[in-house]
Symmetry: C2
Subunit: 394 residues, 2 copies
């Protein structure tokens, strides 16, 4: 892992670092060395597979993180809201895919972004939506670049690779003078898998389905330069990405307990944690009460149905070392209940975690936990902390 | 229910209302008439029970809402963070209880608030914490007003009414010159109940336990002027509140599906909903895809273990009329999956909810859903909409 002096200059945020031990709680801590390691891991993976990497920035919505991804070799970004597009375009990123099906009422905003020089791509998965895009684009003399969303695992949106609608949508857009830019899929069901074999099989299914869709379009005489696939688990599990031009992934930048349960990352690759303070106890129950509740951790219980349920998170020392068996087992808005799994009789939580003890909690889902905070506190290997703001809302 | 012209002037927010049909999606919609009805319902309840009402503002963190609560008769507020105390003190509210166990590192901020004229009360439930407060207060010549947190249902923090520690904590604070202001309890396990009998029994347990604690302190010669109890379900279920001086409740201002499942409110009392747009379909599965995912609804699945599981929320028409059987059954970050429970063969989701349809989703938990948004959009009975900002973070 790199040390701070080797990190890209883009990582410079707040010019006045503050001491870690002065941080208020709860705070969202980013371990910068782990983040940089994760960025390089995914970039190396994309490089080895021969594809471009287009990170999904919905995980962080944070400029210094995205700059680090681009500095490491990412080409363009993926966004989940037009607000993200606006913010990162203002930061100088021009190559942006808005990866949620285009709603008609958002077309004026998309047009305005393109007119200001943003190379914004939009997506659709229905003839009804394609017609709206085509009509609005034609009426405003704008050849929107549109990608068609493909459904390769049945988990959410998209047209299946073999459905007739694929060619109808492609034809509608192309005939109206829109720029048919490619196909895009996201095998989101990968979050439910936890063996290398199942993940590799789904990655191949995601690749093959998206390539099949592209080939059908091309065989019909329609352009399809981009074949875009990805999720963090499939991106790290694919044996090959033949026919794919770009990989999208988001949560890899921080990883989390859901990814760890899936076998995608080691616990020492989790770059996001929530700093909290012990404010009370219920000694007879073996509980320590901390000042991070669900408002800090989020209500995400993504590990609930996985092979290991971590409650609201794995408890670590203030230095980030996991404390085996210590989890946040319950959460109210500003209270977390920390307990030891399989508490042994006589185990003394009060002396183990006295009032005032600072802890760090590894979250189930980094995207959800990060969103609870107005900013991250980026902890560098030298112990200094910078404030990295992230944005909120739509 | 009052109409807009009857509402307190304090409800005036953004001076330039916008048309409801111009709102972007997702947006958090507050039905102002329902909110006002809910405020009056709880205030009448407190008046009838002979107690003051001190609303918990963590639900909304929103100035116009809190002003409406105070205009209706609330005396003081409850906060879950010192940021809330700072913000509402800046708005002119001085009588504030910070209802999370005091952490030593926050004492300087509490002191600064009091020195600026905020009548801030803090709480503790341990001798260790009481000693920290006493030491800091003594060192700074500040007689902090401290309330002792009582555990009346075992769900989280507090000293049980019969524990010896109660008198130790009270004595420590009193002897050090702190102002022992009262006792406070919150029967949060009320959220798990759903019969009037069980709720009334818990309300009595909450009342009796807190009064018992106060009487023990008084019998030991310690002052205990305030006896503060409450949660929305117990507040609305108590037969009497003899010996109680004030009632605290938060979520009643909007109510939500968890409260509705508990039998606390009718579905037509739910004042918060999320406005969303249909952006796609999977017709064979009976799914409509909407642009409100968990980022908008929150990850709260509070109805999962209740008698009725509403998924991520009950779907309503854009006018707020519930559509029986339509729920948001799944959610990704910016996608919701709307489906009909027990879909009948041949039911056509595409023609029922065509692309572009606007819907409103009633949430599981109003505190969690509201926190996902930087602002509410307050919909008045005349159809006008004002923007009410809410604050985020710590």
């Amino acid at each position: 892992m790199p040390h701070l002096p080797d990190m890209p200059g883009a990582l410079a945020g707040n010019p006045r670092p503050m001491p870690f031990d002065r941080l208020d709680t709860p705070s969202a801590i980013v371990d910068v060395a782990r983040m940089q390691h994760n960025i390089e891991r995914m970039q190396s993976r994309a490089d080895a597979l021969g594809t471009r990497l287009r990170p999904h920035v919905k995980t962080t919505k944070c400029t210094p993180v995205v700059r680090a991804q681009i500095a490491a070799g990412a080409q363009g970004i993926t966004v989940s809201t037009l607000k993200e597009a606006e913010q990162f375009f203002a930061d100088g990123v021009t190559d942006i895919v808005y990866a949620v099906g285009m709603a008609e009422h958002r077309l004026p905003q998309a047009l305005a972004l393109r007119r200001r020089g943003c190379d914004l791509k939009i997506i659709t998965d229905s003839l009804a939506s394609a017609r709206q895009i085509a009509a609005f684009g034609s009426a405003h003399d704008e050849a929107f670049e549109v990608w068609i969303e493909i459904d390769t695992d049945g988990h959410r949106s998209g047209i299946r690779p073999d459905q007739p609608a694929l060619l109808d949508v492609g034809g509608c857009l192309h005939d109206a003078g829109m720029r048919l830019g490619g196909v895009l899929t996201h095998a989101g069901s990968s979050y439910e898998l936890d063996t290398p074999e199942a993940l590799a099989a789904l990655a191949e299914q995601e690749r093959a389905g998206c390539v099949q869709a592209a080939e059908r379009l091309r065989a019909a005489g329609l352009p399809c330069p981009v074949v875009s696939v990805g999720s963090t688990p499939t991106a790290l599990s694919a044996a090959t990405l033949d026919g794919v031009t770009e990989l999208r992934a988001g949560v890899y930048v921080f990883f989390d307990l859901v990814m760890h349960n899936g076998g995608i990352c080691g616990i020492d690759e989790l770059a996001l944690s929530v700093l909290t303070t012990v404010i009370g106890h219920q000694p007879e129950k073996g509980w320590a009460i901390v000042d991070a509740g669900w408002m800090a951790m989020s209500r995400d219980r993504g590990t609930q149905k996985q092979k290991r349920d971590w409650g609201y998170g794995q408890v670590c020392t203030v230095d980030g070392v996991p404390m085996p068996g210590y989890v946040m087992q319950g959460a109210n808005q500003e209270h977390g209940i920390v307990a030891v799994e399989g508490l042994r009789s006589g185990e003394d939580i009060v002396s183990r975690l006295p009032i005032g003890t600072r802890l760090r909690i590894l979250p189930n889902h980094a995207c959800a936990t990060g969103a609870q905070f107005p900013e991250y506190h980026a902890l560098a290997p030298d112990g200094s902390v910078q404030t990295w703001s992230r944005f909120h809302g739509w």
